[in-house]
Structure formats: structure tokens, C-alpha cells
């Protein structure tokens, strides 16, 4: 084996809503958007391919950043509708047995007690396969649905997240692992000396505790995080078990990103091997290299013919109305955002059209399963680890099958990804190598 084995995960971009719906392989994707069945099918396919986890992305508003109204978003079903991922996660857990299920929940929308309780219940019911994708929200519109005028300033959101994380962990550990005695003969259900209030009083939260349920199989869920800004990386290095990265610039930039996260994690007294950095990828796989390249060319042609579809995403993520910029003029460096800092930094100086071209994936993996597997191996050997997070906005069952039943077997033949789950709990599998 030329490289160390690496991890695979899936990013459920667009959340619990409309996936592919009016394209070649959409099937009934438009009509069945509210059914959990597509997600169940995906999770089962990924489990067959021995993926570590699947993230259910989320945000909780109807965007209107592009053109200052929601018409284009609703018309194209871009980033809306999205239903609640905590309702979907139990159904996916129920119908799988090994893969990690990771709903996205925002620290600026939840109270820590409610979130800790939901995650604890999910972890119990999934037998230790629950993760939490920690986000801080990045849109004023989400804040306004929750009674605020504007979202908190970027770095302050991470201060809130830090405290939120600390409160939650204390709640998850407020019952000792052996607190439940279940002594039917003496009528003693639990040992009260092993259940502890937390009496937390911080800058943002006040929580008495304990949680009203016993410690779950994993205790704490697996934490995933995607912050790419300096403050976001600091938070991720402190808390995350898996950092998801869309960093641009090829393997050299990926390596820098990973090294930085690992160094910062060490600075927090953590073992850097406990933080798995997974890089976003949208492989295009065909029966032959030529066929895959032709497919990729068709995708690019479609994207170039419909630049507004890409700009809808860009506007929503950055909080900037890209409808105001001419498609082929460089974005001025005076543009500012209180949303995704990293994304805006990457866009400045490029024209919207140029930026769109690069935004689909951090790097292109195009070819037959063997070709793509070789390329992934090469990239991972250069970066040092820890794996890839597959994402595809036009998500249909055919694409899932191409990855799970085409690409992954090629990776497995090279000894690059696991062929069996070693453990029953999500964290144990993630940290195995």
C-alpha cells in the first residue's frame, strides 16, 4: 500500500430538501422531495461502501440574497426548501447499522440544553453512531426567523460556539457511565450519586443540568466542523473530530490547511491524529476516461449556460447580492460580508464567471474508477491524510451508485479505504486510522 488508508464521508449538500429534480437521472426527485427514502437509499449505499459518515447539511431560511428576493431560489429550488435534519436523522439511523449520521445544528438557533438532549437521544437510538456538524449560521435571514435583527458578528459567533460546546459536553457527561443500576429487586433504578448538576453560568448561557437521560453510547457525539476562517479553524482545532474543508489551491494548499489544523490542535493539548481533515470532492466517474471527460464537459457547459444557478449559491453563502456585479468584471476588493469570510476572500479579484468555474469542487477527479482512485491516492500521499468528503449538488441515485459501487471498489482494491467496519461506534471507526 503506497499511501495510508484514508476515510470517506458524504456531504449531503442542500440538506433535507429537493435534490436532483428536473435533470436526466432525477427520477421522481421533484415530486418525492419530502420523502426520506432518497436519504435512506444513499445511507445504505454508503454503508455498503463502508463510508465513515454522512452529513445532512442545513440552514433554516428561504434565501433572498440574489436580486433581493426569493424568486430565483424558489423557482430553481436552490437551498430551499430544507426540512429539519433532526427528523431525518432518526429515520436514517433506523435503517442502517454502521455508518455515522451527522445532522447540522446551529449554535445560534438552539439552546445548549435542547441540543444536548436531542443529540443524546439520537446517539442512544443509533447505538453510538451520531455526530453533530457544528455551525454558527451565516445569514441574517436565519437570525431574523429566530427573533434577532441581525446575526451576531462573525468572531462573536465562535465565542458563543466555544461556550456552547463546553456546556454541551458537560451535559453529556453529567451522568456517570455506570449511573443506571436497574436493580429490580431493590427497586433502585439509578444511583443518584452518579448523576451531577453542572450549574454552568457563562457569558452566554446558564444551565443547571443534569441532562434528563443517561450517558449515551459515545458519551459525546462525533463533532464535525467546516469553519475555514482563522477563527473558524481555531474553533475546529479545539473541538472537531473531523474538519471538512473546501480549501482551494490543490494538494499544496490542502497540506497547508491540514498541517495548520493539526498544529493548532496540538496547541490545545490534543493528539492531532484525533482530528481527521476531509477534503470536499465531486468525482466524475465514467466507464472510460473519455466518457468521464465528456460528462464533465457537459456539466461545465451546463453551468456556463446557467451562471445564475451558481450565483444563487454564491450570494447566499457570502451574503452579497451578486446580481449587482457584471458577470465578466472582477469583483472589487471593497466587497464585505458578515457571512462566509473565506469564500468572499477567494472571490475577490476574480470575475463572477471565473469564480463559479472554480467553485464546484476543490479539485477535479475525472475518469474511470481506476483513474480517479489513482488520482485520489496521489493527492492523499502528498497531503498526508485524512480522506475525502464527497458532495454533489445534482444528487441522484445513479451518481451515488457510481461512487459507492464503482469508485469505492477501485479504492478498496488499492487498499485505500476500508472493506469492513472494525467497530460499532462512529468515533472508533473514524479514529481507527
Amino acid at each position: 500500500m503506497s499511501a495510508n488508508p484514508f476515510h470517506l464521508a458524504w456531504f449531503g449538500a442542500g440538506g433535507f430538501g429537493v435534490k436532483s429534480w428536473n435533470k436526466t437521472w432525477s427520477g421522481r426527485g421533484g415530486r418525492d422531495w419530502a420523502s426520506p427514502q432518497l436519504w435512506v437509499d444513499i445511507a445504505q449505499a454508503l454503508e455498503r461502501a463502508r463510508f465513515d459518515y454522512i452529513i445532512i447539511e442545513d440552514s433554516s431560511y428561504v434565501p433572498d440574497a440574489y436580486g433581493s428576493n426569493s424568486k430565483a431560489y424558489l423557482s430553481s429550488a436552490t437551498a430551499t426548501p430544507k426540512m429539519d435534519p433532526t427528523v431525518l436523522a432518526p429515520i436514517m439511523s433506523h435503517l442502517t447499522s454502521r455508518i455515522g449520521i451527522v445532522p447540522t445544528l446551529s449554535v445560534t438557533e438552539y439552546h445548549p440544553y435542547m441540543l444536548a438532549r436531542k443529540i443524546n437521544t439520537l446517539d442512544h437510538m443509533s447505538n453510538g453512531r451520531t455526530g453533530w456538524n457544528i455551525v454558527t449560521s451565516s445569514s441574517h435571514r436565519a437570525a431574523q426567523n429566530y427573533g434577532k435583527d441581525l446575526l451576531e458578528e462573525h468572531d462573536l459567533r465562535y465565542d458563543i460556539a466555544d461556550e456552547f460546546f463546553d456546556v454541551s459536553c458537560r451535559l453529556w457527561e453529567s451522568w456517570d457511565a455506570d449511573a443506571v443500576t436497574l436493580d429490580a429487586d431493590h427497586g433502585v433504578w439509578a444511583d443518584y450519586e452518579k448523576v451531577h448538576t453542572i450549574d454552568f453560568e457563562g457569558k452566554f448561557f446558564k444551565v443547571r443540568g443534569p441532562l434528563n437521560a443517561p450517558q449515551s453510547p459515545q458519551g459525546r457525539p462525533v463533532f464535525t466542523q467546516a469553519g475555514g476562517s482563522a477563527r473558524g479553524k481555531q474553533f475546529a482545532a479545539r473541538t472537531a473530530n473531523s474538519v471538512i474543508s473546501g480549501v482551494e489551491g490543490g494538494p499544496a494548499a490542502m497540506k497547508r490547511f491540514r498541517d495548520d489544523i493539526r498544529a493548532q490542535a496540538t496547541g490545545y493539548g490534543r493528539d492531532p491524529d484525533d482530528v481527521k481533515v476531509l477534503f470536499m470532492a465531486s468525482p466524475v466517474v465514467g466507464e472510460t476516461d473519455e466518457e468521464a471527460q465528456a460528462k464533465r464537459a457537459r456539466q461545465v457547459a451546463f453551468a456556463e449556460a446557467h451562471p445564475e444557478l451558481g450565483l444563487l449559491h454564491l450570494s447566499r453563502h457570502s451574503g452579497i447580492d451578486f446580481a449587482q456585479f457584471p458577470l465578466d468584471e472582477p469583483i472589487p476588493d471593497t466587497a464585505k460580508t458578515n457571512g462566509h469570510q473565506q469564500m468572499l476572500a477567494q472571490a475577490i479579484g476574480k470575475t463572477p464567471r471565473e469564480f463559479l468555474r472554480k467553485s464546484l469542487s476543490t479539485m477535479e477527479f475525472v475518469g474511470s474508477p481506476d483513474t480517479v482512485a489513482a488520482k485520489m491516492e496521489e493527492v492523499m500521499a502528498e497531503v498526508g491524510g485524512d480522506g475525502f468528503l464527497i458532495a454533489n449538488f445534482d444528487l441522484n441515485r445513479r451518481y451515488v451508485s457510481e461512487i459507492a459501487d464503482g469508485l469505492v471498489p477501485a479504492l478498496q482494491r488499492r487498499g485505500l479505504t476500508r472493506t469492513e467496519y472494525t467497530h460499532s461506534r462512529f468515533r472508533d471507526n473514524l479514529l481507527e486510522f
Binding site: 433535507f16 430538501g17 429534480w21 428536473n22 421533484g30 419530502a34 420523502s35 433554516s60 431560511y61 428561504v62 428576493n69 430565483a72 424558489l74 423557482s75 430551499t80 426548501p81 426540512m83 429539519d84 433532526t86 427528523v87 431525518l88 432518526p90 429515520i91 433506523h94 435503517l95 439552546h111 440544553y113 435542547m114 438532549r117 436531542k118 443524546n120 437521544t121 439520537l122 442512544h124 437510538m125 435571514r141 431574523q144 426567523n145 429566530y146 427573533g147 449511573a179 436497574l182 429490580a184 429487586d185 427497586g187 433502585v188 433504578w189 439509578a190 443518584y192 448523576v195 448561557f205 446558564k206 444551565v207 443547571r208 443540568g209 443534569p210 441532562l211 434528563n212 437521560a213 443517561p214
Partner: protein, 437 residues
């Protein structure tokens, strides 16, 4: 058919936590230890669907209580209302295991923000294809508030003022997408019509929310609203919002008086009283012979020391009053007042504490349903005729699998034979089934 048909629900008392554990027929310890798994609830839901129940209501509260003796000791020792896992996580499992049964989830208006609650209910209703209800509670124990950053619950009546506004916001959000906002024009590539999706811009006394909800109107539009408040303010709230009410009264006369009052309040709010189904809590004891059932019932009333402490801890939690301060054999003070469950505490004033503990109104007087399936069905028929409607809500905090089959496969077929409960679901949505008669 001697009476109009009535409805059946099941009150999943003590929420998503342990059921029978030290009790008879609890099963092997390995099964009892799976109290954090969906097994018991899923099996109950399937049995209920087989028996054509209207709905499964998951009770909830969100703290380890410590009212009794100022400690959580008794609560954990006897498992008194703790642990309880999150009912919104259990609900999707029940949805996945059933096709027609309504699933009613308890969520507190003082713990959720209206947008988050409205969003979860909308998703649950989509995923269940129109079978969701929301049991609206306002929180009653200070320990619950303390987990959410506050020292105490809001005063009783203010909780309902807040809840009124909460329901206004939630219904506003549920109505934000017009029923035909989804276009789904595959040829033109138009998913939804932005002109038919409306922000709410709610700015009230307690809540603000811009909207719209991030997903289209769900099959029922809004969840079926369920409520249990027995106080005057609680009844006013229920009269305005509730579509089904969980009620408890010790005699048919009191049941009738309660029902008549709620229906009058609803009419005063301009509602059709038949759009509120009042279900009364019952814990029937059904066995093969009347003697065996009566013997079982008698034994269920025998209370050992553990049970006394259990009951005292339970009363303390519900009322917020530490009952360890009162002697067992003396009347309770007339000044006993609760910020929690007010109507319940008012009934205890001046009564001897030991009698309060023994006289569980669910299971005493003319409301003790004890006997063969035939006896109990006849008794339920008789009571419903006197009360006027609308049905019963089964409750048994520590039920066993055996109890479930006694009700669903013993009692219910007898009710069906008498034409008292449905033998098939007519509709797909919970609300349509609930309002069918």
C-alpha cells in the same frame, strides 16, 4: 349501535423513558435495559394501529426533578419522570413503523422558539404524510426552566399569554406557503412560485419572527393541536386552540361538566365545539374473568414504602411543592397553591396526604374500569353515553407488553364488536380521522 362511536388514544406517560422495569411482565433484564431504544414504543404503536387508535401521544418534560427533599435522589431511585429522552427523535421511528396512526409529540412553548417548533412540526408532518399532532405544554417545573437559563418558570397565567402568542406565530408560519406555491413544472424548471410564499414579519410582545418557513405547507397544513390544561386560564387556551384535549375527571358527572365547559368556551371563540375531541384518561384492568381482574385491581392499590416515596416525589414534581414537609396523616393546608399544575393542586387542599396518594383519580370510583373485556367495554359505553363524547386515552405509566395486548387485542375488539370504535381508518390524515365522528 347504542352510543355514538368514540375515539381512542394512548397517553405515553413518563415520556420516552423506562416502562415496566421492576414490575410484573417487564421481560428479561436485557430487554428492560433497552429503554433508550425505540422497541417498546414501536411495538405499542403497531398494536395501536392494529386496533385503529386515533393517536399515540408522547408525554415529555426536560429535567431530572429535585423538588422532593430538595434532591434528585428519590427521582432517580424510583425513576420518577426521569429519564426522558427527546420525543421529537422518537416520533420519526414511530412514523416509519406505522401508516395510519397519528403521532402526537409534546413540546414546550417555554423551551422552543416558535420558528424551530414550527419547522420541526412541518417536517414531521411532511415525513408522516399528515399524521402529526403537537401536545402544547408551557412548562411547569422550575427545574425545567433552570436548564434553559432561567431561574423559574414564568408565572402560570403569563405562560399561557406567551403560549397564545406562540401559537399565533406558529400558525402564521405554517400558513406562509400557499397550498399551490409548489409549481413543480418540470419542463420550465420552475419548482415554486415566489409570489405565493410570504414572510410573516411577526413582531409581538414575546416573539419576533420574519419567516417564511423554509419548507412548503405540509399535508395537514398544521399539526393537530393537543392540550391538557385544566385551570381556568388553561381551559381558555384550550378552547381557543386545541383540537383534542387530554382530560382527567373522577366521575362521569365531572367528565360531562368539564366537557360541556370546554365546548362552551370553544363556541365563545367562534369555533364549532365538535372540532374539539376531549379524551378522558383511563387505565382499565382487563382479565379473563371478572374475579381475576378485580383481584389484580385490588393488588394494584396496595402501596409499599417505595411506592409511597414514588408518589410523594411525583406529586412534588408536578406541583413544585416539597411534600416531604407534610405529615402523612394530616390534612394538607388550605393555602396550598402551585405555579405548576394549578387545577390538580386545588383538588388536594384540606385532604389527608395519605388519601391523596392512595386515591389516584384515574383508577378509582366510577372510573375504575375493571373486569372482562366485555365488562369494561360495556362500562366505557355507559360512561360515554352519559358524558356525551368523545373518547378515552389509555394510560399506564409502567405498562408491559402483556398489558398492550390486553387492551389492543382484548378490549378493543370488544369495543369494535359493539360498534363503539372504528374497525378501519377512513382517512390518511390524523385530523380527518379525529374529526370523522
Amino acid at each position: 349501535m347504542s352510543a355514538r362511536p368514540f375515539h381512542l388514544g394512548w397517553f405515553y406517560s413518563k415520556g420516552f423513558g423506562p416502562k415496566a422495569w421492576k414490575h410484573q411482565w417487564a421481560g428479561p433484564k436485557s430487554a428492560v435495559a433497552r429503554f433508550t431504544k425505540p422497541d417498546t414504543a414501536v411495538e405499542l404503536a403497531r398494536a395501536m394501529e392494529r386496533a385503529c387508535f386515533d393517536y399515540f401521544m408522547i408525554e415529555d418534560s426536560s429535567n431530572v426533578p429535585y423538588t422532593y427533599q430538595g434532591s434528585h435522589h428519590a427521582y432517580l431511585r424510583h425513576s420518577v419522570d426521569t429519564p426522558k429522552l427527546d420525543p421529537t427523535v422518537l416520533a420519526p421511528y414511530l412514523i416509519a413503523a406505522t401508516e395510519k396512526l397519528g403521532i402526537v409529540v409534546t413540546c414546550s412553548t417555554t423551551e422552543y422558539h416558535p420558528f424551530m417548533l414550527a419547522r420541526k412540526m412541518n417536517t414531521l408532518d411532511h415525513v408522516s404524510e399528515g399524521r402529526i399532532g403537537w401536545n402544547v405544554v408551557t412548562g411547569s417545573n422550575d427545574g425545567g426552566a433552570q436548564n434553559y437559563g432561567r431561574d423559574k418558570q414564568y408565572p402560570h397565567d403569563e405562560r399561557y399569554d406567551r403560549a397564545d402568542e406562540f401559537l399565533e406565530v406558529a400558525h402564521g408560519l405554517w400558513a406562509g406557503w400557499e397550498p399551490d406555491a409548489l409549481v413543480l413544472d418540470l419542463e420550465k424548471g420552475v419548482f415554486a412560485d415566489g409570489d405565493k410564499v410570504h414572510p410573516l414579519h411577526h413582531e409581538g410582545r414575546y416573539y419576533r419572527s420574519r419567516g417564511p418557513l423554509s419548507a412548503p405547507r405540509s399535508p395537514q397544513g398544521s399539526p393537530v393541536i393537543c392540550q391538557a390544561g385544566g385551570s381556568a386560564r388553561g381551559q381558555a387556551f384550550a378552547g381557543r386552540w386545541a383540537e383534542t384535549i387530554i382530560a382527567s375527571a373522577s366521575t362521569p358527572e365531572r367528565m360531562k361538566a368539564y366537557r360541556d365547559n370546554v365546548r362552551a368556551t370553544a363556541a365563545a371563540h367562534g369555533r364549532d365545539p365538535d372540532q374539539i375531541k376531549i379524551l378522558f384518561l383511563v387505565s382499565p384492568t382487563v382479565d379473563e374473568t371478572r374475579e381475576r381482574a378485580e383481584d389484580r385491581y385490588r393488588r394494584s392499590l396496595e402501596i409499599d414504602d417505595n411506592e409511597v416515596e414514588y408518589q410523594l416525589a411525583s406529586l412534588s414534581r408536578q406541583s413544585g411543592i416539597d411534600f416531604s414537609q407534610f405529615p402523612m396523616d394530616e390534612p394538607l393546608p388550605d393555602t396550598l397553591v402551585s405555579n405548576g399544575h394549578q387545577s390538580m393542586v386545588a383538588q388536594w387542599q384540606g385532604r389527608v396526604l395519605a388519601d391523596v396518594i392512595r386515591g389516584n383519580p384515574l383508577n378509582s370510583g366510577s372510573n375504575a374500569f375493571v373486569g372482562t373485556a366485555d365488562d369494561v367495554a360495556a362500562h366505557m359505553d355507559e360512561v360515554m353515553q352519559e358524558v356525551g363524547g368523545d373518547g378515552f386515552l389509555l394510560v399506564n405509566s409502567y405498562f408491559s407488553r402483556r398489558y398492550v395486548t390486553e387492551v389492543c387485542d382484548g378490549l378493543v375488539p370488544e369495543l369494535q364488536r359493539r360498534g363503539l370504535t372504528r374497525t378501519a381508518y377512513e382517512h390518511d390524515h390524523l385530523r380527518d380521522n379525529l374529526m370523522a365522528f
